[in-house]
Symmetry: D3
C-alpha cells in the first residue's frame, strides 16, 4: 500500500459543552496542524499517489472554510463539540467529497482511503481514517 | 476509525544481556518519549475518543512507576532485556489495565485498541499495538 | 554562557484590529507552544542554570493565567493586539517577576537573561529576549 | 504487533516527465529523510524486533547506492518518474532483499512486514508498506 | 529584542568542487527547509515585528528564484560552491533587499537584523545573520 | 556571522546529589540529542564554516567517550552533578580541543565560537556557548 501526506494548518476559536471538558468549556482556541494522508494500492501512470499540488490545494480549500473562525458561530456545528477527533472527521469527509468531485484529478480515482491527523499541541493529536 | 494520542516521557537506566547489544550491555540510560494512542470506531457522547485529561493522567501514572529508575533493579524485569519494543508493550498493557479498571472514564469503554510508541532518539523508535 | 529551556503550551482565542491582519481580524484562536529559556554566565552550586522543576512550575503558572481564555476579554489586554511577539514579551516579563519574587529558588539569582519563544504553527514563531 | 523504526537520509538530484509535475520537470533535487519500519507479531529471543545496529547498517547500505546521485543517470530508473512514493517502494524492496539475504541477522526471519517513509519536506511525505 | 520567523522550503540540485566534498562533488540535490528570522528592538504600531503575510510572501519570492533549479546552471553561481551556509547568506541578502525596497511594508523599516537558517537534513543545518 | 550545526546523540546513566533533584537523585538515565554549532564571521575558501564530515566525526568521537556509560563511574566526573547544562560545557570544551588539535581541518582555524545544545526530552534542553 502507498500513501502520500501533505501538511497545512488552521487557527480557530471554539468552546466545549460538558463537565468533562473543565476549563475548555470557556471560549478558547487552537492551532491545528493538519496532515492529510491519501492511500492507494498501486501508483498511477505518473508514478504518483495523487498530484501533490492538487492535494495541497484541496486541503487548503477545506481548511480555508474553517480558518480564522470561531467554530461556535458556524451553523453546521451548532450544538456540536468540535473536538480535535471530530474535526479530523470533518476534514477527511470534505476531502473525500473533493476527491469524488474530481478536484484532485483523474488519477485520484485510484485512491482507496484517507486519513487525517490534527495536532493540537506538541503533546496531543487525533486522527480519523475512512474508506473512499 | 478514530484515534487520540497523548505524549509524555520517562528517563531510565538499564543494561542488556547478549552479544548482539554490543556496548549497550553496559549500564547506560535513555529518555523515552512515549506516545499513547487510543483507537475506537465511533466517538462517545461528548464527541471524544477518550477524555484527554484522564488519558494524560493515566499515561503519567504508568510512566511514574518507571521514571527515574534503574530498570535492572525492578523485580518485575529481572533477567529481562528491557528493550524499547519490550517497554512499549509494558506501557500498552498497563494502560489497558487502567482502561479496564475504569481509570479513563466510562466513555473509554468504547476503546478497541491501544498503540504505544517509545522514541529512544531522533533516529530510532519502537511501537506495540494491541486490542482491548 | 549557559541556558536552560523548558517547554509548555497554551490554547487561547483572540482577534486583531487593523487591516494588516486581514481575516485574523475575526475572532479565531491559537495553540502557542511556549519555550522559556533562562541564561546565566556560570552554573550554581548544584551545576544548574535553574531548578528545572521550579522553572516548569513557574512557566505553568504564567501560562495558566492565559490558557483556555479569550484574550479579548482580559482587562489587561483591552485595546491591545495580542500578537505572538507581544505575548512572548508578556510571558517573559511575568517570568522575570517570578524570578525576582524568588519563585524559581535562591539559585535563580544568578540568572541574567530570559528569552521566550511562542510557536503559533509549524511555519511561524516569535521570540522576545530581555535582561533580568 | 511490534515495530522498530530507524531513520537515515539521502540527498539526490532528479527530474520528472509529465505536465502534472509543472516546474518539477526541471532538474532539481531533494533531501529524503528515510524511516524504515520493521514489523513482527512477536519479539525474538533477545526481546527485539530486529538488531538496531544491523537495521541501521542495512538502511545505510540501501541509501548509499542512491545518495549523492542524479537519479536520472541511473540505468535502473531510465524513463521512470522517481517520485517520493516510488522511491519509498524501491527502498522497501531493497530492504526486503537484505532481510531475505540474512543481512539483518537470523532473528530477522520473524519479520513479517516493512514500511518505508520518505519525507521530502516539512509539509510532504510518502510511504510504502509491504509483506515480507 | 523581538523576532519573528517564517518557514518555507526549496528543492534544488547542485554539485561541489574540491576534494573536501568527497561524493558531494557529484551532481546531487537537497531540500532546504528555510527559516527567515526578522529582528527589531521594539514592535511597530500594530504590535508586530513585521506583517507575517508579507514576510511569508517575500520569503516565497526569494526561494521561488531558486526552487526546482540546478544551481550549477545559474549564472550568478558560476564557479561558486553553493554550500548550505553560502545559500543562507544569499537568502538573507535578498530578503534584506526586499526590506529596503519596501516589499515587507512601511512598518518593516524598524527591522534591524535578519537571520536565515537552512536545514539540509534532520542532522545538519547552517545559518547566516546580518544587520539591516 | 555564519554557523553550521551537526546533530548526534548519546545514551547515558547517571544520578544527582542534592535535595533539589528530588527523584533524579536515584540512578536513572537520558538520551541526549546533541547539536554542535560552529560559528565564524567569514566562510573559508571552499565556502564552508567547517567540513561537515570532519565536524560530524569530531562530535561522534567526543560523544563516543560518554555513550553507553554510567557517568557516575567515570573518574573525571567523580563528585560532580552531570546536569544537562554541565554536559553541554563538557562537550563544547572537548570539541574546542579537537579544533585546536586540527582534527576539524586547517579551514577550522577561522572558527570563533562553539555552541552545544543537549536535548534531554521534548520539553527540556540546555546549551553552553564559548569562544574559541
Amino acid at each position: 500500500m502507498f500513501s502520500l501526506t501533505v501538511r497545512d494548518h488552521m487557527m480557530v476559536a471554539h468552546s466545549f459543552r460538558g463537565e468533562v471538558f473543565g476549563p475548555a468549556q470557556r471560549l478558547h482556541g487552537a492551532t491545528f496542524i493538519v496532515d492529510a494522508t491519501f492511500h492507494r494500492p498501486e501508483l498511477d501512470d505518473d508514478n504518483l499517489v495523487v498530484d501533490i499540488g492538487l492535494a495541497t490545494r484541496a486541503l487548503g480549500a477545506v481548511l480555508g472554510d474553517l480558518n480564522y473562525r470561531n467554530l461556535d458561530d458556524l451553523p453546521e456545528f451548532a450544538g456540536t463539540n468540535t473536538s480535535t477527533e471530530f474535526l479530523a472527521k470533518v476534514v477527511a469527509d470534505r476531502l473525500a467529497e473533493q476527491v469524488a468531485a474530481g478536484e484532485l484529478g483523474a488519477g485520484a480515482r485510484g485512491l482507496t482511503e484517507i486519513t487525517v491527523t490534527l495536532r493540537e499541541s506538541h503533546v496531543a493529536w487525533a486522527s480519523y481514517g475512512r474508506k473512499l
